[in-house]
């Protein structure tokens, strides 16, 4: 897993490890056991889902939720996949999150270039604005957005969600990136200016490449946040063909056709993409959570 902790010299880590197994201390193992039990409790819901997604309804009825499936029963997952046309929902979620992440990063870079490096007049007020925009609950924006998007013919289109989330995510991105660009090395910019690069070229040739790690963190955050969004997509994407994964799964809760095994099958296929992102992005993520918090 993430090895941000492994900053300490490797040698000392090994040494303490060896020592610990020599003089085993009962309280040490007691504490470790408590932590492992807690770990089990945290992941238990996911394990229960995984086990029951592969059970036939009859198997569940007779053996309950904790038994290992008698045989791997794929019908629940396949049926559910086909019933909600899950491939299409995956695509909707993917394309929305990707476009939002790309546009959101670009917009954040433009804003932060002007505020952090350009230090334009009134920058403090712009920053306060982006900070407040970050705090706003979506409920206070939702009805006018719903109303206006209907007027513009964007209602029930992925574009409505893409535009809205690009702006919402870039409010956070601007805020974070401005503080990063505030410390941007002046010499690099001066060197670019001496080479005759204008502001536009300096942005793409110097600023963006140098800040790539931060931009990667922002991209990851924007992608995952947009993927997980529920409230606005629930309101804007009403037709079946436009739903994203969370909306498709969320509105089925309480549906009469859902039983124990179908529900866990649906939960499992909702969990899997998130787990894949987690594994792909975990390094960026843990680094980013820390970077975002304390600059």
């Amino acid at each position: 897993m993430t090895v941000t902790t492994a900053r300490a010299p490797r040698r000392t880590v090994k040494a303490t490890e060896r020592k610990s197994f020599r003089d085993r201390h009962p309280t040490r193992f007691l504490i470790l056991t408590v932590l492992l039990v807690l770990l089990l409790l945290m992941v238990a819901p996911l394990l229960v889902v995984a086990v029951n997604a592969f059970k036939s309804p009859a198997d569940y009825a007779s053996n309950g939720p904790l038994s290992i499936p008698g045989h791997l029963y794929w019908d629940g997952i396949v049926d559910f996949w086909n019933r909600v046309n899950f491939g299409l929902k995956l695509w909707n979620s993917f394309i929305t999150s990707l476009v939002v992440a790309v546009l959101g990063v670009i917009l954040s870079v433009f804003n932060a270039y002007a505020l952090g490096i350009g230090k334009v007049k009134g920058r403090i007020w712009f920053l306060v604005f982006f900070l407040v925009a970050n705090l706003l609950p979506q409920e206070v924006l939702v009805y006018p957005l719903y109303y206006l998007s209907k007027q513009l013919g964007l209602y029930d289109s992925l574009w409505s969600i893409i535009i809205i989330f690009t702006v919402i995510q870039s409010a956070f991105g601007t805020y974070l990136l401005t503080s990063v660009y505030g410390e941007f090395p002046k010499e690099l910019l001066e060197a670019a200016a001496i080479d005759g690069a204008g502001k536009w070229r300096a942005l793409w040739r110097v600023v963006v490449p140098v800040s790539r790690p931060t931009l990667a963190v922002l991209f990851t955050f924007f992608f995952i946040w947009t993927w997980n969004e529920f409230f606005l997509p629930l309101i804007f994407l009403i037709s079946n063909d436009n739903q994203t994964v969370p909306v498709a799964l969320g509105v089925l809760q309480g549906d009469r056709m859902m039983d124990a095994t179908t529900t866990s099958a649906s939960a499992l296929i909702g969990i899997l993409p998130a787990m894949v992102f987690f594994l792909i992005f975990q390094r960026t993520l843990t680094r980013g959570i820390a970077a975002g918090a304390i600059k």
Binding site: P65, K119, L141, P144, W225, I271
Partner: protein, 311 residues
């Protein structure tokens, strides 16, 4: 994710250096235009609509403060904010305290005696629920807690504890507590990760010096660990508190605010007025109050943080 990190990071105010900063303002234009369209105009509209009666079609009719007087007399409104108080306990206070203890134990104890790998694996496991879409966590727990086919009641029955089986989400007596339990599960990993990354900054010599002075684990925990990661403590508390004020997804999927409003929260209350009852003015008043509350809270937190930093 629960809270968005970084909201409480300090503004980097630096005066001067206004050298050659012309020509940058043009880069703000797309951001300003987009923010006006998506944030400023809708925000102003909502505040305006909150002083009107409107069904969403036709012209809004100005009614002054009527929506607000009605709101403050509405038992459901007070109930929804009362539920938020409990949810702050479940989403901010409890995860912060547990997370602090867990992070300290993982960093200072497990890392030291069993190796960093153990600490990293445990941390990732605790963090796992945070990466799942909110709606999906709702589905998982909605099924586990389901009265007839849910896993929890089935397990209780097969363990001979059938009398403990409850209609966890459908009984007004238990519904809110069930939601709170789910939220503790969901939130715990965030403070653990945040605090552990903050602990990296601590100089190991501080701990060694404390050991030499004969400090107990608890003393070291209070005087060094908690004192050193105070910035993270503020960030976690402010982001999780705001997240609990905004909670919608889990409540929508788990209980839809029910049974009989036992888990009603402001955002769902507003949603119902907007899209189910067509009382757009009233819904706007609810969301305006919620917004004011969040901003006041953020300002208070920032003030407290600044004061603590200065002293």
């Amino acid at each position: 994710m629960s809270g968005r990190p970084g909201v409480a990071a300090p503004l980097t105010a630096r005066k001067g250096t206004a050298v050659k900063n012309r020509g940058y303002a043009v880069y703000l234009i797309p951001g300003i235009l987009a923010s006006i369209a998506v944030i400023v105009v809708p925000l102003v509209m909502t505040v305006y609509i909150s002083f009107t009666k409107w069904t969403g079609v036709g012209e809004p009719r100005w009614v002054g403060l009527e929506n607000y007087t009605r709101l403050f007399a509405d038992a459901n409104f007070w109930a929804s904010f009362g539920h938020i108080a409990l949810l702050i306990l479940a989403m901010a206070v409890v995860p912060t305290i547990l997370g602090l203890i867990l992070a300290a134990v993982l960093f200072d104890y497990i890392g030291k005696h069993f190796g960093d790998r153990w600490a990293a694996v445990l941390r990732s496991g605790y963090y796992l629920p945070q990466v799942l879409p909110v709606a999906v966590t709702g589905i998982i727990w909605g099924w586990i807690l389901h009265p007839s086919y849910g896993a929890l009641n089935r397990i209780l029955e097969s363990a001979g504890l059938g009398s403990l089986a409850k209609n966890w989400l459908g009984d007004p007596k238990y519904a809110l507590y069930s939601v709170m339990f789910v939220m503790v599960w969901f939130q715990l990993g965030y403070p653990v990760v945040m605090f552990m990354s903050g602990l990296q900054r601590i100089d190991p010599e501080l701990y060694e010096a404390a050991d030499l002075d004969g400090a107990s684990w608890w003393q070291r925990f209070r005087k060094i660990t908690v004192a050193m990661i105070r910035p993270e403590l503020y960030v976690v508390l402010v982001t999780t508190t705001i997240a609990s004020l905004k909670i919608f997804g889990q409540v929508f999927v788990l209980t839809r605010g029910g049974p009989s409003n036992a888990t009603l929260v402001p955002s769902y209350f507003a949603y119902k007025n907007f899209f189910e009852k067509a009382q757009v003015g009233y819904g706007s008043a609810i969301s305006t109050v919620l917004t004011v509350l969040i901003i006041v809270l953020a300002v208070v937190f920032l003030r407290l943080q600044n004061r603590a930093d200065q002293s």
